[in-house]
């Protein structure tokens, strides 16, 4: 700790300047009844070298996906993040700054976030984006409460929103926690056997405040039917579409087919998966939602000399001004990770985004082509087009299959019974820009091997 405390050893001198003789005098206002007795039951202080050594040992015991062949995605996608992103984001001026309350000395981050807003706005096809929420799930949850704030007055199904029944339970749970306080009812949209949205169930959502669907859906399926939703729902129901942002290099931007709010896990643009955080949530919307949306927004302005300058704006929506009437309680967000996103987007450019989307989607197509040929493996939604991932149905449980693949060094995918308990034999297999043809061949080889052990056992 010595290296972190410049005034160690200078305590007496500083206390004397205040007319004090002991540190204890600084804590005289803390009553003895609440004083802690004895030392904290914690280990002794360590040096930087010792901490680094322990960190390498403990974190080295984790299985990093890069050490294996991996097909695990299910909401987080391992894309390559260019080296310059890490080099620049750790510049101290960005890294160690706070929320830009003093815009005159925060122009760098403010401008970078204004540029981020533009990049996201262009990506999703909507005019407004904030500078990030915590993750995709909280962005989705905030979108639902925002839709109710905007629409419940005119809604015939007041305080009611509809979400796809495929929404992963962990994401749904976040939505439920955010919605319950405002007594918002969450109802479900059904899906057809081929994985597409059931349009009859969509018509049940007419008159509600908001409809939440994902494109691609949680099973990787791209659903053309989603482009029809706005026409069915009309202007008094918010269409909320969650996206995998990289897919938008190939797939139409939801704002161009009527989405009012677009959310998503920003992670595939700019961020490693980092055990699920810190990552960043995308939130973009059209004009009617602007004054009731959550999160911080940067506006372009001028300084007293008339020069271009940037600052936070529309703060009257926020907790530090509006307190219990704020649109959200969010204060700290994920600006630094959003900055990584902006840097990645700037490096990609439009054509680079297209190329990245092509790499992700063709890896998925190759996976599908080869898995279709494995005896005993069935692809439930094989007629559809998939981005990043799709479900496969196995001749045994996904749990057993994943354990077998793990024993040969392959992270095989995601056990879908954790989302949909009756689907014990369904596994979600994910392909990204990091997937190579030889990885897929290895998966096929060992998956076939596992299937044959079942046949022998039978």
């Amino acid at each position: 700790m010595v290296d972190q405390l410049p005034n160690l050893g200078r305590e007496a001198e500083m206390l004397a300047a205040m007319g004090m003789t002991s540190i204890e005098e600084l804590f005289a206002d803390i009553p003895s009844e609440v004083r802690m007795k004895g030392d904290l039951p914690l280990p002794p202080p360590q040096s930087e070298e010792e901490i680094l050594s322990d960190a390498r040992r403990l974190l080295g015991a984790n299985v990093a996906l890069g050490e294996r062949v991996s097909f695990l995605g299910a909401g987080l996608y391992r894309n390559y993040v260019p080296a310059s992103v890490f080099q620049l984001v750790t510049r101290g001026e960005f890294l160690t700054s706070y929320t830009p309350y003093q815009p005159e000395v925060s122009q760098g981050m403010l401008q970078a976030m204004w540029e981020f807003q533009t990049l996201i706005s262009e990506l999703v096809g909507l005019p407004i984006a904030n500078l990030s929420l915590y993750d995709g799930s909280t962005a989705a949850a905030e979108a639902l409460t925002c839709s109710v704030r905007v629409h419940t007055r005119k809604a015939t199904q007041k305080d009611t929103v509809y979400v796809s029944e495929l929404t992963p339970p962990d994401r749904l749970s976040v939505m439920q926690n955010y919605c319950q306080g405002a007594e918002i009812k969450i109802k479900f949209l059904r899906h057809n056997d081929d994985g597409t949205l059931d349009m009859d169930s969509v018509s049940e959502a007419i008159g509600s405040c908001g409809v939440y669907v994902e494109q691609p859906n949680p099973l990787g399926l791209l659903d053309g039917g989603v482009t029809q939703l706005k026409e069915i729902l009309g202007e008094h129901t918010a269409l909320i579409v969650a996206v995998q942002p990289v897919s938008l290099g190939l797939v139409e931007a939801p704002g161009h087919y009527g989405a009012d709010i677009v959310v998503g896990e920003g992670q595939p643009l700019g961020s490693p998966i980092t055990g699920g955080g810190p990552i960043y949530g995308i939130f973009a919307c059209s004009k009617p939602y602007l004054r009731l949306m959550p999160g911080r927004i940067v506006g372009r302005s001028i300084d007293v000399d008339g020069n271009t300058a940037y600052c936070l704006t529309l703060s009257t929506r926020e907790q530090h001004i509006r307190r219990h009437r704020a649109t959200s309680n969010i204060c700290t967000n994920e600006t630094l990770i959003a900055l990584m996103g902006a840097m990645h987007m700037a490096l990609l450019g439009p054509e680079g985004l297209y190329d990245l989307a092509v790499r992700n989607m063709t890896a998925c197509i190759m996976g599908k082509q080869k898995l279709q040929a494995v005896d005993g493996v069935h692809i439930p939604h094989s007629s559809g087009d998939h981005f990043n991932e799709f479900a496969i149905e196995l001749p045994g449980t996904a749990k057993d299959c994943l354990e077998y693949l793990d024993s040969v060094g392959i992270v095989g995918g995601f056990d879908l019974s954790l989302w949909y308990p009756e689907r014990t034999n369904w596994m979600l297999v994910t392909f990204t820009d990091q997937t190579q043809a030889k990885h897929i061949d290895l998966l096929i080889e060992h998956l076939s091997g596992w299937v044959s052990t079942l046949e022998v056992a039978a």
Binding site: A55, G224, V411
Partner: protein, 499 residues
């Protein structure tokens, strides 16, 4: 003045990518889903991109640039080894859905962090899932809400918040569906027990309070406040924003609290990165533990066949609390921030108390030095303490009300004057109970020399004439920014030529 969208090379991709595994012609998309026009993103080569963001970084002020006494925000130095650790593939490249035997290192660190926070806070169980302080507040109040629902105490519809509280407190409680009862503070910002007694009844679910409070003063009557709230069956919630003042000295548990959130990024260390990420774990007493968001990390003795993947004699595993409220973030919280804070706490270990002592020493020393310097410069009549107090804790408030009255110099004018001196300005106009408030938090990582120089410079700013200060800053990348113009002429994205 340049911006990203001025860069429009022919096809100058910033980095070249390997060929796809199949030609793009293999791709089919459902009807109507093929993107018609790519986003109008700029086209930059890597050198252009690097220069753009380096230029932007030079127009930004961080702790690394200079003294950052932003009250309430705890802008301490961020040790760089933490950034090195956060890049280790065993944290950067792991997926939350990997099996437990892939994540024993992570789980053991999570377990250690749960334990460390429990003993520091005097709580029985910690969850690391909330990703920011405000989300921690929301999560804890949700847990208490479920606790009362299970007990059939549905009449508890109100949450008490002092008027000096952080805005997130009422916002978080309101998000849970509670009605907010705001009670006035005394003139020193401390809790008014009579005001509390007047509203305490069996409709109260929670009282949310920060201690040291938002003026940096310890609530000496905290046990009495806890007793009043518990007396009517309510729960006490500790806003941990100022926890860095009291580690190892007292704890929320000893003060009678039932639940607490930690701002890991402030109390320990995670670079704030222009507004985030953060990390907002919560700790609760046993009666609330079953409601926490899951999964939590537990441990048992490792079996023989598990030892190859274990990091010690224990097996660390996830488990779900019995009446869990569910999740507040889809994954396991901000694992990367938790690792950094683990590395930070390890530097102090059982010596965390020394960290808090130095935070408080520095704050009191700076408060004293400012008063001394302003007196020597003959401007002590322009600034007074925000609240009467013999000692402050980790931060203190000043009021520029006399300067405003005498010369029309506002707290904001002084803040802008300090920017010209090469400092980040203290927090201004919070807490609202102090007129022309300036809240100063030096943190434990500033040297005595820095504090002395700042005090002298502060006094110098107060000697500047009003007209000059109104025009400040003049040395910054831009001069005073027109926030009203920004709100009235909304420009939230780059206006393309055809718009």
């Amino acid at each position: 003045m340049s911006h990203l969208f001025e860069h429009n090379g022919a096809k100058g991709q910033g980095y070249s990518q390997p060929a796809p595994v199949l030609p793009a012609s293999e791709i089919t998309l459902p009807s109507g889903l093929s993107r018609k026009a790519l986003p109008r993103w700029p086209r930059l080569s890597e050198p252009e991109m690097v220069r753009h963001y380096t230029w932007l970084s030079k127009r930004n002020f961080g702790i690394d640039t200079g003294f950052y006494p932003l009250g309430s925000c705890t802008m301490k130095h961020n040790p760089r080894v933490n950034e090195v650790i956060a890049q280790i593939p065993g944290i950067a490249d792991i997926h939350p859905h990997q099996p437990e035997h892939h994540l024993q290192g992570l789980l053991s660190i999570f377990h250690e962090m749960q334990y460390m926070l429990e003993v520091c806070a005097g709580m029985d169980q910690v969850t690391l899932q909330p990703v920011a302080g405000a989300q921690g507040e929301f999560t804890a109040v949700r847990c208490i809400q479920e606790y009362f629902r299970l007990r059939g105490e549905d009449q508890r519809t109100k949450v008490i918040v002092p008027d000096s509280a952080h805005g997130t407190n009422p916002a978080s409680a309101a998000m849970c569906g509670f009605e907010i009862v705001e009670i006035p503070s005394r003139t020193d910002g401390r809790i008014d027990l009579d005001a509390l007694r007047a509203v305490a009844d069996d409709t109260i679910a929670v009282m949310m309070i920060t201690n040291p409070n938002t003026l940096g003063l310890f609530e000496e009557d905290i046990l009495e406040a806890s007793s009043i709230v518990h007396g009517v069956g309510g729960q006490m919630y500790y806003d941990g924003a100022n926890f860095n003042a009291i580690l190892g000295i007292t704890s929320p548990g000893l003060m009678g609290f039932d639940a607490v959130h930690f701002n890991l990024h402030k109390t320990f260390s995670q670079p704030h990165g222009g507004g985030g990420p953060g990390s907002g774990p919560i700790g609760v007493k046993q009666h609330l533990a079953q409601f926490l968001p899951g999964p939590l990390v537990g441990k048992r003795t490792a079996n023989e066949d598990e030892l190859h993947a274990a990091v010690d004699e224990n097996w660390y595993h996830w488990y779900q609390p019995t009446h869990s409220i569910g999740k507040v973030q889809q994954w396991h919280g901000n694992a990367g921030a938790i690792i950094r804070c683990w590395a930070y706490y390890r530097r102090y270990g059982r010596g965390l108390r020394t960290m808090s002592e130095h935070a408080v020493l520095n704050a009191n020393y700076l408060r004293h030095a400012i008063h001394k310097a302003t007196k020597e410069a003959g401007v002590d009549s322009l600034v007074v303490d925000g609240a009467e107090a013999k000692v402050a804790k980790h931060e203190f408030t000043l009021s520029l009300a006399p300067a405003k009255e005498a010369h029309g110099i506002s707290a904001m004018d002084v803040a802008k004057g300090l920017l010209d001196m090469g400092y980040m300005a203290p927090t201004v106009y919070f807490p609202l109970v102090v007129p022309e408030c300036m809240m100063v938090e030096p943190t434990e990582t500033e040297s005595k020399d820095t504090l002395d120089t700042f005090a002298t410079d502060f006094a110098e700013v107060l000697q500047v004439d009003a007209e000059t200060l109104h025009a400040a800053p003049v040395t910054t990348p831009v001069r005073r920014v027109d926030e009203v113009y920004a709100a009235r002429n909304l420009c939230l994205r780059h206006p393309y030529d055809d718009e």
